[in-house]
Symmetry: C2
């Protein structure tokens, strides 16, 4: 199956996951997965899955009052460290479930008696076997080398994890239930994404900005542009970019931003206006806010996106843009250079 | 004082810190700062200080068996989250001590009764006032816009923090005591760094790699090249780069690497050889290992650097290279574009 088919398959993957979780909730054995509230969460992941972990870092802090750390597996695999995890909820995120260093973190956590969860597309993988609880991505085989449908499935799995600690309110459940339809709306941006991609075919660098929940999307968008379009794209939290890296700003610099309406928008708008007015940057803004899109070029989001649901939807226009950018640069999105599907770092 | 003077001042700042800590240890009131062992550590920082926090993440895991999370201040300042930190050691790192969002994390931690530590160059700053314990960087006024001497002072302060939890062994104390002399040796690389910088004056991108402890150095080197030399430099853990971002590799791509001898070296050497042989990348390797330096171009480290002491020394050749790269690109290292000294994000 080609990459574009997997991008388009995302609403049906989301529908399948939500239906499965509704069924399992009705049977009444989804919650709680934890014998007691953990002192903190530890998330082990690499590459695209690490961006899902970044989303989890925000969601667990905001919804579950849990500090979440992104694991540094090499402290265990290279330096033989045995960091204490027995009071933690330890989560491994890996599409294949076969990254040895992610498995090593889960195995050490299990040895210490921590609660462990695997988020994976392969429930018979070593990661799944190492964990006491598995959230199955049910995304079907991912044939394309670049991960797309498993990324949004991982984000949904993170909401499931959060809901297993603190059940969703009715309003939250309803918001999550709208995700597949919002994904369909986001897929409708493809013609616009194709037109804008052609404008950027000759770029030799790009900056990608996000804030709060949107930072995970900015990171994942930049990673996809690196992997597929061979474009050196630097992702920053808008808060960090305003300081040192702002020195990179110069006339014609491509600045891409994930800027949904919400509490993050005002500060981002001020930064984007400044980049445009004072530095001559060219902006491409993914937003449901018409003013944000009209700053320069924009790709729309369906209304009502933003907040904790935002990342699951916002990445879709970014994937479509990147897909067409890759073609516009004369590259084949289905044959990216040198990516290997399984992260085999030890 | 010009940037180059502050780079050269680093050994004397280190000597001052180590002397102060020896004196305070003799008086017997340095340890312990903590009423009890924390369940985990939380590190709040931005920009250069965030790279010192990354070093702390590795050091606290390896030396103190502590999982350390890098804080996401916007969960508190934007979303009003109150993540539980009462079992944590919460550390704010900021040269100025005046970044409002870092102060906000410490204030919330203190409100919850957590142990709090400020690592700052201003002991009367809001960050210092919010913390129950202060580690003074004693680096003197930092006049240059880009942080150099306060970065290595922050790394040393992180070793102090670690030693306050688990006292240094005699061997560790001796290793730390050699740091100022090792810094002097590293400063002697300046003529070589100037020559190599001229080779890279026309670059329009660079990749910077590190592994384990060296990853913090790779990140800080890339940040300095962005801020000062206006070069879009992408930093990766060598473990992450091998997968998706390897697609960026192409003939002539500049790959810079922090590769001291030690357990990290073999895997890094294999990757660097592959980048050179299969992709035609041009390498610049900072290492004490002659074979690593001779892969292509190299900058030497004094022998015996590496492991947990490594980052305090390795950044110095990288700073010198970046300083001269900035001049070679026709820019003024003392007047970088658009950096503001205090990170004022709320």
């Amino acid at each position: 199956m080609a990459l574009i088919d997997e991008i388009r398959e995302q609403p049906s993957v989301a529908r399948r996951l939500l239906a499965e979780w509704r069924r399992s909730d009705l049977e009444g054995y989804a919650q709680p997965i934890l014998p007691q509230r953990p002192a903190f969460a530890l998330l082990a992941a690499r590459g695209t899955s690490d961006n899902a972990a970044l989303y989890a870092q925000y969601l667990l802090a905001v919804r579950n009052d849990l500090v979440a750390a992104l694991a540094t597996p090499s402290t265990i695999t290279l330096y033989g460290a045995r960091p204490r995890m027995n009071d933690a909820l330890v989560v491994g995120i890996s599409q294949s479930g076969r990254s040895p260093d992610i498995v090593a973190v889960l195995e050490e956590a299990a040895r210490q008696g921590a609660s462990t969860v695997a988020i994976t597309n392969d429930t018979s993988s070593p990661l799944a076997l190492a964990a006491s609880h598995v959230i199955d991505l049910m995304a079907g085989p991912e044939k394309a080398t670049a991960a797309t449908k498993t990324y949004t499935a991982e984000l949904l799995a993170v909401t499931r994890l959060s809901a297993m600690i603190d059940p969703l309110t009715d309003a939250e459940g309803a918001a999550l239930g709208r995700v597949p339809d919002l994904m369909e709306s986001a897929l409708a941006t493809e013609p616009g994404a194709q037109v804008l991609a052609a404008h950027h075919a000759e770029r030799n660098q790009a900056i990608v900005l996000g804030r709060g929940y949107g930072y995970a999307t900015a990171r994942e968008w930049a990673l996809k542009m690196q992997e597929l379009a061979q474009l050196p794209a630097l992702a920053y939290s808008a808060a960090d970019f305003e300081h040192g890296p702002l020195a990179l700003a110069e006339p014609g610099l491509a600045v891409m931003a994930v800027a949904p309406s919400g509490v993050e928008l005002d500060a981002q708008m001020a930064l984007l206006r400044r980049l445009q007015r004072d530095h001559g940057a060219r902006l491409l803004v993914i937003s449901d806010d018409p003013d944000a899109r009209r700053l320069d070029e924009g790709l729309p989001l369906p209304e009502g996106v933003g907040g904790w649901i935002g990342p699951i939807i916002e990445i879709i226009p970014a994937q479509l843009f990147t897909y067409h950018l890759t073609s516009a640069r004369g590259l084949d999105p289905d044959q990216p250079r040198t990516i290997t599907k399984v992260t085999r770092t030890v």
